[in-house]
Symmetry: C2
Subunit: 340 residues, 2 copies
């Protein structure tokens, strides 16, 4: 591998001049520039990222830690999100280091290691939590990051989030307009900040329509298909089961769908269903799943752009971005209950 010295020698200039040419960081005569460029070409020289980093104090790496804590690794969310991160970062000549963790302890250690080893210049944090150690740690360490998800407390940091409140409210309103009066809610994991907003959206929709808030219609779910299956089972066991259900995410909605089918009932005739996320799975199942779409690619792209601005000391025009999800009506939400 040729180094800058080899280039300098071949072009009969100093290494400083080579550096000037390559980085446009000094005045160089056209003739010299041409000679340097020719030498670079001839040698196939590429500057060493590592040496550059040692000088420049940055790694051109972004960190993203996969945690089973808030999302299952099989959640297709990651595919789109990671692709967006990697794509967008590449546009800035950055790369993304993806790490996985098994539990909270190893997650803690991972962040600490990445920060203290200065392996990455900044982090992308997904799925903010109620009492989020990661956020607290990074803020305390003064380490740059941008989150997908809002804070639950008074912490201040840049983020992109989806408006779960408005989204769920709109979806539940849609079900109410269809004629549904008993609408169930299968909640996400209690530690997730977004669970809160979605719940509030659900309650707001009922209140605005003067529908009673029946606590037995709100069941703890979780994250996975199994969680949704189990939660739906509880709802179906009620003396008066709901005729429609809003699920915390698509995976649980599909679980709910299976629970309904396995009891010989039908979606949407016996129970209408709406999910959240719009993962590809929604169109694979029958009936296809109505849902609230969050554009993970868009979110990932925005998050990286904000982080790049942060790292380059640029002015962040918007530091907290809230995106509206789109209600996507497919088959599982059914038609009007009472035909006229």
């Amino acid at each position: 591998m040729p180094t800058i010295k080899d280039v300098a020698r071949l072009a009969n200039v100093s290494t400083a001049t080579v550096s000037y040419v390559l980085n446009n960081s000094g005045p160089v005569s056209e003739a010299t520039r041409a000679r340097v460029l020719a030498a670079v070409e001839e040698l196939g020289y590429r500057p060493s990222i590592i040496a550059r980093s040692l000088k420049g104090k940055h790694t051109h790496m972004l960190g993203f830690v996969l945690s089973p804590y808030a999302r299952q690794p099989q959640d297709p969310f990651f595919n789109e999100f990671i692709a967006a991160l990697a794509d967008t970062a590449a546009g800035f000549n950055y790369h993304v280091a993806v790490t996985t963790t098994a539990d909270l302890a190893s997650e803690r250690k991972t962040y600490k290691d990445m920060v203290e080893d200065r392996r990455v210049d900044g982090f992308i944090i997904a799925d903010t939590r109620l009492d989020d150690e990661r956020l607290a740690y990074l803020i305390a360490a003064g380490f740059p990051f941008v989150a997908f998800g809002r804070p639950a407390n008074e912490l201040i940091f840049p983020y992109v989030d989806v408006d779960g409140y408005t989204g769920v409210k709109q979806a539940v309103q849609y079900l109410i307009d269809l004629g549904h009066r008993r609408i169930g809610l299968i909640e996400l994991s209690p530690t997730l900040v977004c669970r809160m907003h979605r719940r509030q959206g659900y309650e707001a929709a009922l209140q605005e329509n003067d529908l009673p808030l029946d606590s037995e219609l709100i069941v703890a779910g979780g994250l996975t298909e199994e969680d949704g299956y189990r939660a739906m089972g509880k709802l179906l066991d009620l003396v008066q089961p709901p005729t429609a259900v809003m699920a915390g995410n698509d995976l649980m909605a599909v679980g709910a769908m299976n629970a309904i089918h396995d009891r010989g009932l039908s979606v949407p005739d016996d129970v209408a269903l709406i999910g959240f996320d719009d993962i590809p799975l929604t169109t694979y199942v029958r009936p296809t799943l109505s849902t609230l779409r969050q554009d993970f690619y868009d979110i990932g792209e925005r998050v990286v752009r904000m982080l790049m601005a942060l790292l380059h000391d640029e002015e962040l025009t918007e530091t907290q971005v809230i995106l509206e999800p789109t209600l996507i009506i497919r088959e599982s939400s059914g038609g009007a209950l009472i035909k006229d």
Copy 2:
């Protein structure tokens, strides 16, 4: 951030001694060692990965490039595989840089950049192709990598692969044993090496049972649910459609399932179905999908272990590993056609 010099100063030793202690690379008296360790502790010192890399000529990074060319980004395969890569690498103090590419040209550029910039010490390559530029390039460049998938030609490199031939043969035999005589095959993308082996397994099973090889029963598929849907449509359009179908992967099997349902037919009564991969989706659909399981986590782990051995100049005990897939019978493959 404290440097090695700060530690040396505080411990009243030279930087060399600090380095000896930290790397166990020189004889150090117990007293000195203790003093150094105390200083490290007090300062919260962590060696700079970058400076280390500059000396040592390695980055402690592994590269993995996501390509839509052979697998759709929404393929859940990636989740498990990437998690396995990241987990296993972490055990060796390595990290994984994940990059995405949009097309073959950008893929080519990505590999070139990563290699020439020496951003990573080695690559993991997934889904080998018939005429695989990536492999050719890395071999020509003498750059270390381990593949998930076999070569299609005479190239020699370390890999882990799943025995698609035996797997599919076994699955088709299973269908034959159930009484099926007309068995369809929905193929993977033609460029994938594994398509070949699976096709051969299909043909072998038919031949061993003296069943005719009907070319109209073999249809081009692809990768996605849509591909499977379309391919199944073609099979159902036949004058004499198959009573069972082996799909190139689970995603296409689910697409086939939907195609069958959408024509008012039933799985497995009208058409029995077996997929390949065992992604979580197989248990979310109704009927649940029979499939050949490949353990992506295991594969990812093995690939990284082999790559680590390669990078550390250790003897590779096995350089080409073939794993057997497991036939998993769920509902979609049905029971015996002719009940006795």
